[in-house]
Structures are given as structure tokens and as C-alpha cells.
Amino acid sequence: MLDFMKNVPELPIADWTSNFTDWLTDTFAFLFDPIKNQFGDFMEFTADKLAAIPPVIVILIVAILAFFVSGKKFGLAAFSIVGLLLIYNQGLWEELMFTFTLVLIASVLSVIIGVPIGILMSKSKTAETIITPVLDFMQTMPAFVYLIPAVAFFSIGMVPGVFASLIFATPPTVRLTNLGIRQVPTELVEASEAFGSTASQKLFKVELPMARSTIMAGVNQTVMLALSMVVIASMIGAPGLGREVLSALQRAQVGTGFVAGLGIVILAIIIDRFTQNVNKSK
């Protein structure tokens, strides 16, 4: 049935992609190299500083924040204390700090990049039509694939990990920012215009506040996706809990793998409840 295809040579898509990536690497080396070095240093520095704080203080701060963020309830605070103590007890504290740094920085960057793109999409039909399939592509491509150009651009370590996370984790923020703004009731947009708002007044005084909880739902998803990249990113040398899981896998050590995995779960739950509650409060 596909006989006619015999006359069509195999398209060299793989070669094209490689060539394109090589070209990017060479052409933008002046950009990638400083990012790799300085940004890498910055991340190391942050993680080291975090790790240098006595764990008991970190745990206390997290517990207090949890108490207030969850509307003065003890549940989340108690969970945070027990969970973090367990991680400390298992000797994974430093790994936890690395993982947290990676997730934090990847998420912050995702939001900084994602929200403006989402706003652009909500304002322009054309932008929406172009960006939506790109987002679909970014999310459905297996996350491992991003590791390859990440390594090409940034070699190994935390920086390519953040880069791969960014690509994988940004789409929800973009999507939900767009959705949130488009869902603002027409009357409110009209009200803001009818009183003579400029475009930016409309955006900052009405649309973004109205879209806030939808955007936060997107941010929550972004953070969770960034966290899920932690294990994957460890394959290109990103330090942290993921690396423990990976090495346990390579050595078939079920117990060690489970403990490191449990650490990730605890971190995930704490982060998830935090971002959700921030959304609910006010």
C-alpha cells in the first residue's frame, strides 16, 4: 500500500535538527557560555547557602509559613515538620536543598517567561493561533529529548537541568494566564474601558487581578512539572534527590531509591499545598 513511498527518500529530519542545534550552539556560544558559567555559579551559591542554614531553622521557618499560609491551621505545618525531619534523618538534607533550588529557579523563570506570553496570547488572536500548537508540542515531546540540546548548549550540571525544566514546565502557566484573562467577564472589561482606562491600566487593575486564581492554578502545575523534571535532569548531572534515585536505579538498590523518592514526594506535597493555599488566601 505504501509502495509509492519507496520513491521518497527518508527525510533527514534528525540530521537537520542536529545541524540546527550545532549551528545554535556555535552561533550563540557567546550567550550560552556566560549563562552556563555565571548562572551555574549563582545556583551553586544559592544551594550552598541554603544548605548552610541550620536545618532546624529552615524547618521552623517552613512550619511557621505553613501555619499562616494555610489560614492558621496546624495540618500543613505539622506535616512539614515531620516530613522535613524525616528527610534530614535519612541524610538527604543537602540533596533536598539542591532539588529545591533547582525547582525554585526553574519555576520562577517559567513564571517570568510564561505570564507575559500568556498575556500576549490573550490579547492577540494571531499570537494564540501560533503559540497554542507550540505549547502542545512542548508538552507532548518526551521530556528526555530536551536533555540533548540542553547538554549541547550548557554542557552538564544544574543549568541544563533548569533549561530542560523551563521548556517542559512553562506551558501550563502560559495556557492558564491566557485562559484566565480571556475569562474575565465582558462587563468588567467594558467597565474598565468605559471609565477611560489605558490598556495597561485595564490589564493591571482589572484583568490580572480577575485572572489571578486561574494563573495561580497554572503556576501550581508549572511547579509540579518542574519538580517532576528533577529526576530526569539528574541524568545530565543535576545534583539533588533525583541523582540519588538515579544512582539507586543503576545499582538496583530498592531501599535507597525508595527513600530518595519519598523525599521528592514530601517536597512535592509541601510545595503543592503552599502554592494552592497562596491562591486561596485573600
Binding site: E190, A191, A194, G196, M210
Partner: protein, 400 residues
């Protein structure tokens, strides 16, 4: 004097082929035909009218007739396909963005059907919005917002959030917000339609009270004839995007321009249910057996009347005298009322339906007499007919 708002040939076509649709409109194709042929919807079709300073101009029509579109063309929330809007002689449709923004900030503001309040702002902060975006200082904003809130009777609620208030109160906030930057023109799109009937009536009354002092130019949209009759100085009736008639409430009721308007007016059911009995009031009279022209004149002056009904001792209707005739008679020193009495009196009975009263009252320069067994039971003044149409409950309560 130049009209406050002058609208000419204003047209809005929703869809991808406005040019084509516009051509078809010129050929007098209907909204339906144009929709079939081009897939475009005619929102507003070549509307022309003018609104005077200080007037309440009501735009009325069934749902989908284009009222909301029309009112949004007036502040250009919707870009017109053709035609123009002049506000104080300035053409809104060619204004650049900055001038348009200034006009919206200073000259006109809007009240919305579902209130359009910002849920994350307090009542006061909602009311301050218009000034806030103009960069007015906090103290001034607060002061003006509080004044506006007091005006609509919401003092003490300033720190609450919109969802903590009832519908009526929320719309008061909407009104206060629109009044805070002291605009000359208020656009109100079905502002009271979402409220239940009692609250709605209350709001109508309040709006009219406010208007007594404010003398704003108000464009008021409604799909409800009662509401239109109650508050409109003039009413424009819309159908399928076109304005089919513009006139005073009386014009619309008495001389419907076409079947459509007539249908609309007929829908005022109470015109059939209500009778003279419901809307008559106690008459000022003089007694032909006791009084002369001098007393008649004095009584008319006291009550501010231009004519007065004359009865005998048993309240049998004799006729009426006018102020002119009475003053003439006094000059000539005529003592007997009989000599200046007009006996050709428009009369109805207590159970004459409202429908028939219309015709009688518009041919008559004096109030209509309601007569029972030859006795004067009451009189009906022109205003009462309109008022009754607009509000049956009030009348029935009074006379039940």
C-alpha cells in the same frame, strides 16, 4: 442650541463582510435577509436621533433589537461600521485614542446590567476607580467617592465587598461609581433589569429624584415599557437594529408609528384591566348654589388649577368654569356662575377601561369627569393616565 448628543446614520454590522452588508442595508434589505446572504448580523441599522442636555432619553426594544450595541456605540466601546456620534459637537467616531479616553473619563460614564463591579475591590475602591485611573490624589478620591456613596444611600457600606451586598445595593454602587467623576452623560444599559420588581421601582424613583438635582443627560436602555414610560422624557423604540419611533411617552402611547409599536403598547395589559375608578382623584369643586365667579377664581388660584368643576348641593355635575372665563366675569361683575358655565363636559363612568380614557383625555383641555348617576365621583388628569400605565400597583393600592 446644539444637542448634547447627536447621532447620525449610526450603523454596526457584526461579521466579516461589513461592506457588503452595508450595501444591502442601503437597498433596504432586512436583518434576516442580510444574515442569510452574508452571514453577518446587523446590530444597529442607521440610527439617527439627538438627545438634549438634561434629558432622560430611553431606548426601548425587545431582546436582540440592538439596544446594548447602540449604547456602546455612543462611547465607542464598540467601533461603528458607519455613521457618527457627536458629543457636544465633537465627533466621537473620528477621535484619536487619547481624546476618546479623556471624553470617557470626563464626560460620560456607564452603568451596567449586571452591575460590572470589580469583586476584588471594596465598595469604595470600586467607586473610586474612575478617579484612580486619572491619577487623582487619594484624599480627593476618597472624598468624592464618599459623597457619591452618600448620594445613593450607601454610607457605611464603603468597606464591604460587592458580593456582600444585595442586587439593589450593588447597582447603587454602580451608580455611585458612574457619578463620582461627575460626568455630563450617563449611559445606563438595562441598569435595573436584573433587580426584582419592588427594588426596581425604588431605584427608578431614586434615579428620578437624583435627576431633579443633577440634570444629567441620561441614556437609559430598557426592554420594559413600564419602565420607559415612568422615567423617560422621550423614548426611542428599536426593532431589528432600527429606530422605529422617537417621541414622548404620550406620543408613543397615543400615536404608535406602526404595528410594531402598537403591539408593544398593547402589551401594557393593565390598560385593559384598569378602569377610571383606579386612577381618578378627588375633585376640587365649587357649589353652583352657593358660589360665584369670585370664589371660583380664588379656589383655582389656591389649588393652581386652570379650570374647576361645578356641582350643585347634591354633587350633581353641572359643568366647569375656566380661570379665564371667571376672571372675565369678575371684571364684568357677573355674579352668577351659570352664565360662564361650560356644560360640554368630557365624562366617563367608573368602569370605563383605561384604553378608552386615552382617547377622551387627549381631545380634552380639562380633566375628565367620572360620573355616577349624574353625580361627580372624581376627575382624571392626564398625568395619572401615564403614571397608571407605568405603575399599576401604586394606583390600586391607593384606591383599593
Amino acid at each position: 442650541m446644539v444637542a448634547k448628543i447627536e447621532v447620525e446614520g449610526l450603523t454596526k454590522i457584526f461579521g466579516k463582510k461589513p461592506k457588503r452588508a452595508l450595501e444591502l442595508l442601503q437597498k433596504n434589505k432586512t436583518k434576516d435577509e442580510i444574515l442569510k446572504e452574508t452571514g453577518n448580523t446587523v446590530g444597529v441599522n442607521r440610527a439617527s436621533f439627538s438627545v438634549e442636555d438634561g434629558e432622560i432619553f430611553v431606548i426601548m426594544g425587545l431582546s436582540g433589537s440592538g439596544k446594548s450595541t447602540l449604547v456602546r456605540l455612543l462611547n465607542r466601546l464598540i467601533e461603528p461600521t458607519a455613521g457618527s456620534v457627536w458629543v457636544d459637537g465633537e465627533d466621537l467616531s473620528t477621535m484619536d485614542e487619547k481624546t476618546l479616553r479623556e471624553t470617557r473619563r470626563k464626560k460620560m460614564s456607564m452603568v451596567f446590567q449586571k452591575f460590572g463591579l470589580f469583586p476584588f475591590r471594596t465598595v469604595r475602591s470600586n467607586v473610586e476607580y474612575g478617579l484612580e485611573i486619572q491619577g487623582v490624589s487619594q484624599e480627593e478620591r476618597k472624598e468624592k467617592a464618599m459623597t457619591a456613596l452618600e448620594l445613593v444611600g450607601l454610607k457605611g457600606y464603603e468597606d464591604m465587598y460587592p458580593n456582600e451586598l444585595s442586587g439593589g445595593m450593588q447597582q447603587r454602587v454602580g451608580l455611585a461609581r458612574a457619578l463620582t467623576n461627575d460626568p455630563q452623560v450617563l449611559l445606563m444599559d438595562e441598569a435595573f433589569s436584573a433587580l426584582d420588581p419592588l427594588i426596581r421601582k425604588e431605584m427608578q424613583d431614586e434615579l428620578m429624584d437624583l435627576q431633579e438635582n443633577m440634570k444629567k443627560t441620561i441614556i437609559f436602555i430598557t426592554h420594559d415599557l413600564d419602565e420607559a414610560l415612568r422615567i423617560g422624557d422621550r423614548i426611542a423604540l428599536m426593532k431589528d437594529g432600527s429606530i422605529v419611533q422617537v417621541g414622548t411617552p404620550e406620543d408613543i402611547l397615543m400615536n404608535p408609528a406602526n404595528n410594531y409599536v402598537e403591539k408593544f403598547v398593547e402589551d401594557v395589559d393593565r390598560s385593559k384591566i384598569l378602569t377610571a375608578h383606579h386612577i381618578m382623584k378627588r375633585p376640587e369643586t365649587i357649589d353652583i348654589d352657593k358660589h360665584g365667579p369670585r370664589v371660583a377664581l380664588e379656589r383655582m388660584r389656591q389649588e393652581g388649577l386652570s379650570s374647576i368643576y361645578v356641582v350643585d348641593r347634591k354633587r350633581n355635575l353641572k359643568g366647569y368654569v375656566t380661570a379665564d372665563d371667571a376672571s372675565e366675569a369678575r371684571k364684568k361683575d357677573i355674579r352668577d356662575l351659570q352664565e360662564i358655565l361650560t356644560t360640554d363636559v368630557p365624562t366617563v363612568t367608573k368602569d370605563t377601561p383605561m384604553h378608552d380614557i386615552f382617547n377622551a383625555i387627549y381631545d380634552s383641555s380639562v380633566p375628565i369627569a367620572v360620573v355616577e348617576d349624574g353625580k361627580l365621583a372624581g376627575i382624571i388628569v392626564r398625568g395619572a393616565v401615564i403614571a397608571a400605565l407605568a405603575s399599576d400597583s401604586e394606583v390600586t393600592l391607593d384606591h383599593a
